[in-house]
Symmetry: none
């Protein structure tokens, strides 16, 4: 397990931060962290002195579809070596520390990371061992601290969850690359003219059916109806459904059975 | 396991969304979801037909410090009952669906949820069973879909992770609490139960009128109708207008003139 043997595998192919797991204990958690990263398209992982050595079959089994993250991962003996080629390093920690260092939210951190990678800087994020978290000696090497704004009375994020939130924030900051998911994008919304026609159809059928009663209130009822329809975000298809219903009530009436 | 027995425990004490787990399978995952929520101060959970019944010792063991979420949780037989008193419901899903419904990111969804709770609306978020996710019949009842913008080639968020990201986004949106002027602030929006009743009324009248024809298409037409109604931002007063129209068509028919 030597940094130099594996470091070459961790070439920097794109503008992405490197996630560095410091002394991870359970192989399963390394695999879960890889999955969390790959969910958001992040693939640069490094390990510092994993307790059970490397490779670790349990990590591989857990990573399954995200094995590419593990295949190209770098293993180092010390945190200093793992972050040696990086320009800026964040340390994640749940507890307040005595170290004088900027403390930022994941949101702010990934905003900064995004800006720095745009400038060609290499950014890394340190994640501590499952139980104890990062030691001060590791945090001291970082340029800033990421603190997730959890419930002060209950902070229980596990390693993969902490990785997940950070990876999610990275992806969120690159939102302009990923068009917002809108399934209704191709939807044909009704035009004002179509809504007018639907309103007229409602008027005609409801009037025939004697809905606008008493007459003194008829105008007010019609305005309320028009206003209500104008608040409904209808598609063209929705208006057709309503037209169909109105016609069907008339047919039913005419059938007279 | 009955909705009525537990519903009173789930009183609405603050402006927070309700997280509804639909047919969760493993008790451990219910506990992990509770932990994920409580990390971000969210405490309103409801269960729909949990596979192993309720209470569930495995859920309690896993929740540990977040047991308050489980202590006050409501259990319901159906999704419709679980969201009956809510005004707006999001459904989380990983896969694209054929239903015409807004699809938003967690960020946008929690931004909207935050705005709606400020207006006094009750907001819920549906999470599907671990393996299969939500079924279309549940999604049809929701007003919008939340889709996490994951790697298109690798989406592997588990239940607790999906809950975690949503709870995180809720907390992030509450960062700076700037009150907004909202013209519809005092409006009584329809609850899901009221929308269910309106849907049932539509069904009954349209069925009598012979709308659902041919029979082979009837189920699809009903789902389309339910889905359309769920997209309409109706007030209680709007639902009364539609009830009135439907009654009037029946009276008209009976009058037979």
């Amino acid at each position: 397990m030597s940094g130099t043997d594996h470091a070459h595998q961790d070439d920097w192919t794109g503008p992405q931060p490197v996630f560095v797991l410091v002394e991870p204990q359970m192989g399963e958690n390394i695999g879960a962290a890889a999955r969390a990263m790959w969910n958001f398209g992040l693939e640069h992982m490094r390990l510092v002195h994993p307790r059970d050595g490397w490779p670790n079959p349990k990590a591989t089994a857990m990573a399954s579809g995200a094995s590419r993250v593990l295949d190209r991962l770098g293993v180092f003996d010390t945190t200093a070596e793992a972050v040696g080629d990086l320009n800026y390093v964040f340390a994640t920690t749940a507890r307040a520390r005595d170290l004088t260092k900027p403390v930022v939210t994941p949101e702010r951190a990934m905003e900064q990371a995004r800006a720095m990678t745009r400038d060609g800087k290499r950014v890394g994020i340190l994640f501590g061992p499952e139980r104890a978290g990062l030691e001060n000696v590791d945090i001291a090497q970082a340029n800033a601290i990421i603190s997730v704004p959890v419930n002060p009375g209950f902070a229980s994020l596990n390693l993969a969850q902490c990785v997940l939130l950070t990876a999610y924030e990275w992806r969120r900051q690159t939102g302009d690359d990923v068009p917002e998911v809108v399934a209704m994008a191709k939807t044909q919304f009704a035009t004002q003219l179509e809504m007018d026609k639907l309103y007229e159809h409602f008027l005609e059928r409801l009037d025939t059916a004697g809905f606008f009663f008493p007459e003194a209130k008829a105008e007010g009822m019609k305005t309320t109806l028009r206003n209500m329809l104008s608040r409904m975000p209808m598609t063209q298809s929705d208006t057709q459904i309503f037209h169909g219903m109105l016609r069907q009530f008339a047919r039913w009436k005419e059938r007279g059975d």
